[in-house]
């Protein structure tokens, strides 16, 4: 790379400039070319952040959504791990049950979103249930696959040295499952986020979905964009957390 400004020489610097340029385009477009009741420039969104958080109910709504997500993710991990082990530990159960799991995983759950509202109401319960229905499957599949990929020689040698089934589970199967389990958790986080947000946007009495509808219907794009920005930042932070965890715990094996 001959003759390039210092900031551009490093990819990360250029990346930051690209992001800045995108925000610049957004600013110019929203300021001069689009009806201000539909779109707000980033400068106004930032300026309206205070007012957004001062709107009665918004901090609570963000907190509610965060709790829904946490509950959906925790339930996904617990149920996904249990079912994944149940399905994956035995050859027979894997071959007979895994196709059923994959079939359910492949069905578009958005089509049954109204059913979740019908059964669990418009409060947080339906969001948790719907988020869980999205987050559970990646964990089941990766745990079942992780259990399956253990070298038979390890199981055989543990057993021949007199390990009880419980010891095999604790000291051989469990450690080998960890990398794929963390991959599953990363996928589950993305999926649970999608599920919770879909259900929130569809209908909501207390969460952020209520306020996205409110701000869109009352033509307050600055607040709408602000709320979405906060949620996007939350999504980025959560995704990054599980991704770091995956990198940290995913590669303990030397092979």
């Amino acid at each position: 790379m001959a003759r390039m400004p210092a900031a551009l020489r490093h990819p990360a610097g250029a990346r930051a400039l690209v992001i800045l340029a995108l925000f610049g385009i957004w600013e110019v477009a929203a300021r001069w070319f689009v009806d201000p009741s539909f779109m707000s420039p980033p400068s106004r969104v930032v300026a309206f952040m205070d007012e957004l958080f001062a709107t009665p109910g918004v901090p609570q709504a963000l907190f509610t959504t965060f709790l829904e997500l946490a509950a959906a993710f925790a339930l996904s991990v617990a149920v996904g791990l249990a079912v994944g082990l149940l399905v994956g530990l035995h050859d027979f159960s894997r071959r007979s049950l895994l196709p059923i799991v994959l079939l359910l995983y492949a069905t578009p759950q958005v089509t049954i979103l109204p059913l979740f509202i019908l059964y669990f109401g418009i409060g947080p319960a339906s969001k948790i249930a719907f988020g869980m229905s999205h987050g559970m499957f990646p964990i089941i599949v990766t745990v079942a696959a992780g259990v399956q990929n253990i070298k038979p020689i390890l199981l055989l040698s543990a057993r021949s040295m007199g390990a009880s089934p419980r010891q095999v589970l604790r000291w051989v199967i469990f450690p080998h499952m960890i990398p794929s389990f963390f991959t599953g958790m990363r996928l589950a986080m993305t999926a649970a986020l999608l599920g919770v947000l879909l259900a929130e946007l569809y209908v909501s009495s207390t969460g952020v979905g209520y306020f996205t509808h409110l701000f869109a219907d009352s033509f307050e794009p600055a607040k709408l964009f602000g709320l979405i920005t906060v949620l996007a930042l939350m999504a980025i932070a959560l995704n990054e957390t599980v991704r770091r965890a995956e990198v940290r715990f995913g590669h303990w094996q030397s092979t």
């Binding site: 689009v34 007979s96 492949a106 578009p108 958005v110 089509t111 986020l193 569809y202 869109a216």
Partner: protein, 257 residues
């Protein structure tokens, strides 16, 4: 040898039996819950009633209009994403520097649930098909562009150097070295992009729409016509499964060539 074969076929029968048993148990439970245990038919209609409604939906041709709208949105959104994703991905992949600038950026944005921006899309593009096409394009663009970059940028160096040293032209390099190496990866991205376009369009029709399959299911739910809603859910799931099988078959076909 003989006994091993016999055991394997016996096993295969047993796994199929478990799968069939699962489905039968589910339907039986569903039937018993609605006919014997007094679960309200507003919450869970009887399987037979759903089947009747489904037959009626199919016979009356009522589904055609909604299906047309949804498929039209999916096709337009996917075409836009496929075109822009492959072209942009190819252009970026031509420079190692650009790959390092854009690949992390795209994969970072890809991890954010883009459905978040749907209220903004509705505000700008309205309740009609345009907002669904826009959100579908946005969401399915990322797997396409990422797989195109991955496909073209990670072609084995030796192949490229060998072709160049044998004096291949730019077009020959693209047609006989880069494209064959990248094609399978791009196909996978295109398949994922198509599925995501379908899911996000069904989802956005559910959230805010005036027509389409997703909207039909929601409006039936709001009218408490649960039987017909279940029929439409079965229909939508079947359509999604069909499309899924079709694109997977196309992908396999494209790989074999």
């Amino acid at each position: 040898m003989m006994s091993a074969v016999r055991r394997r076929t016996g096993d295969a029968i047993a796994t199929r039996a478990v799968q069939a048993g699962f489905v039968i148990a589910l339907v039986t439970l569903w039937h018993l819950a609605t006919t014997q245990w007094g679960v309200s038919h507003f919450l869970l209609p009887q399987p037979a009633a759903v089947l009747r409604e489904l037959a009626d939906v199919l016979r009356s041709g009522e589904f055609v209009q909604d299906l047309k709208i949804t498929l039209h949105e999916v096709v337009v959104a996917f075409a836009a994403a496929a075109l822009s994703g492959t072209v942009l991905g190819y252009l970026i992949s031509r420079s190692a520097y650009l790959v390092r600038v854009f690949e992390p950026l795209f994969s970072g944005i890809y991890a954010i649930p883009a459905i978040l921006f749907f209220p903004v899309y509705v505000l700008i593009f309205g309740l009609g098909p345009a907002s669904k096409i826009a959100i579908g394009t946005t969401i399915s663009f990322f797997p396409v562009v990422l797989s195109t970059i991955a496909g073209f940028a990670h072609v084995d160096r030796i192949l490229v150097v060998a072709a160049r040293s044998m004096g291949s032209s730019g077009y020959q390099m693209f047609r006989y070295v880069l494209l064959p190496a990248a094609f399978p990866v791009i196909l996978t991205g295109l398949r994922m992009g198509f599925i995501l376009a379908l899911l996000s369009i069904l989802g956005s029709e559910t959230i805010a729409s005036l027509e389409g399959l997703g909207h039909r299911i929601v409006s039936l739910a709001e009218l408490m016509k649960t039987e017909r809603m279940f029929a439409y859910i079965v229909f939508a799931v079947a359509i999604a499964a069909l499309l899924n099988v079709a694109v997977s078959a196309l992908e396999a076909l494209g790989r074999r060539r």
